[in-house]
Amino acid sequence: MSKIGIPQCLLFYRFFPFWKTFFSELGYEIVLSSQTNKSILELGVKHCVDDACLPVKLGFGHVLDLCENKNVDYLFLPRIISIEKRSYTCPKIMGFPDMIKCNINNLPTSLDITVDMRKPKYSLHSAFFELGKQLGKSSTQVKKAIKQATLAQQAFQSSALQKKNIIFHPHLNFYFEPQKEANKKKKIGVLGHPYLIYDKFVSFRIIDRLVNLGYSVVTPELIPEDQLEESVKDIPHHIFWHEGESILGTAYYLLDTLQVNGLILIISFECGEDALLRELLEHKTQKEGKVAYMSLVVDEHTGEAGVLTRLEAFLDTLNHGKKALFTIEEKQL
């Protein structure tokens, strides 16, 4: 059975259920890169251009990890230009496969597809259909695989919505952890790109920490998509990044409905989208001033202690002076 390597980076955090079902339906084994760790970060920083943001550097690290340690036959590097009509992903995500190919030698055969929902020729369906044909599978097989994959993706997204819980993904499986209803203290919105907030290395397990302290956490995945578009309506310009729109939409929705007591925005240094969106978001939080807000900027040098201190201070503000310090056990989590 051929092995297909998928790097755990960028849009992996959004589309993994689709990719996983598609390839396993076609009879391939999926090999993931290791969870983000220090050596992956170092590999990425070494091979990537210095100007790039942390997620892209980590992406380089994950691809190198697959090449060096995992012995895969194929490398899955989709070029995702747009995942919704009228919007784009980020330019760096669009150019990511090309950046990889120009900077890393001796890559395994890469499976190239272009997904661009703006053009019918490159829609999700036809892109994966082409891919299946390239791999030498019959039309019926590929169509069936795409159907199953779409169902899996929908199930993933809708279960996030229905259960109103946070998504964790230890290694291969995504699952939803039921939140403890009993000792719910306060609700905190954790916003950011999925590859930042769900990557436990990058975000310093902020979501885990908050949940362990008894807070309930809201992330952009838990808000229905039509609500998001509704809430950014008063911005006179269409936010043309899909993820940017969902982050800003979530923030505006949560601020408008006052569902949360605090908002934490995690962004990576040099993220082009968030540089502007943060300004719009801060404008709104300052204007209304009802919700505590903190933005955390992470890059490859971020130290854990600094993040913990800021998180503690933020939680103190939230509780108006009531102690919210981590216990020693929680610090060692």
Binding site: C48, V49, D51, A52, R79, I81, R86, S87, Y88, T89, C90, P91, K92, M94, G95, D98, M99, C102, N103, T114, D116, I235, P236, H237, H238, I239, F240, W241, F269, E270, C271, G272, E273, D274, A275, L276, R278, E279, L280, H283
Partner: protein, 367 residues
Amino acid sequence: MRITSPHMGILEIPLRAFFRRVNVDFVTPPKNSKRTLSLGVRYAPEFACLPLKITLGNFIEALETGADTIAMAGASGPCRFGLYGIVQAKILEKLGYKFKLILVNQDENTDIKTKIKELAGNASWLKIIPAVFWMYAKLRACEFAEELSFKTRAYELNPGDTTKAFKEALSLIEKAESYSELRETRKKIRALFDSIPKDKNREVLYVGTFGEIYLMLEPFANHFIEEKLGDHGVVVTRAVTLSGWLKELVHLDWFGNFARWRLRRVAKPYLSCEVGGEGIVSVGSAITFARLGYDGVVHISPFTCMPEIVAKSILTKVCKDYDLPLLDLTFDEHTGEAGLITRIEAFVDLLRRRRKYRLKPRNSAYT
């Protein structure tokens, strides 16, 4: 209505011409200066790119001098430029300025015709269309002078002559009031540059520049890079022009689209999709310059520019494959002039040595 618009190299001259034709009061923001930059840096988001900061500074200074309407271009992605207008408007509102924002947008939702009409103070189309053509004629004249200056500066005997001539040329274009005068002006400009004492036997280098459009076109932002290169005996060719960019912005550019399509085809082996901004143009022009036999290329981008980071990481491979020297310059508000001069000198030295020891002859680059 007193309208204003940010500086972008020579853009102010055509804009003034346009607004004079449609009888709208146009406020040219004070010349880009340290103050513009520090105002922009103080109020703009910290990770935003340099163009946003400088243009924000322009707006603040223009509003101080009495403008009440801001004209800004918009786009529908994926480059950050598309959102400049609304972010800047939010910042200016927070600072307490009263103004109206006109966002001229390529987005399919907004009707560009109504926007242009609004910009022209609801003048009739019979007035607007000739004004647009007039603006374009002036723009082309300015670009003509600019190109001449790039070619002349490398040969000039007395440093500074060309810059002086270029300034004079711009003021001549500014004064021209009709098409026939503009034609005369073109002749005068050519004579002006011809009269500069030149060392015809000097061996000059040919360098192509490409990168993010604002930094390419605004000399204040790129620390007058073309002049600096020219002073070292380098003939500079720009890969992107203001006229091309403007035409593309309003979807009028069939030929420009064709040129872009050609660049995309050239860049395809390295970068197979548009990444917004000038990303693909940068990669395509590097290859084109290499094929034309240029001595080297300079890539100019603002710090944290998303499309140019993609281009930058691909350019290393392109330049290795084509054996093309590349100088990668990233600008932000802290860029020191001395460091830039040193890097340019080192780059030009390298090119000269390569020229000296290079065996293969250079194709004709001077067209």
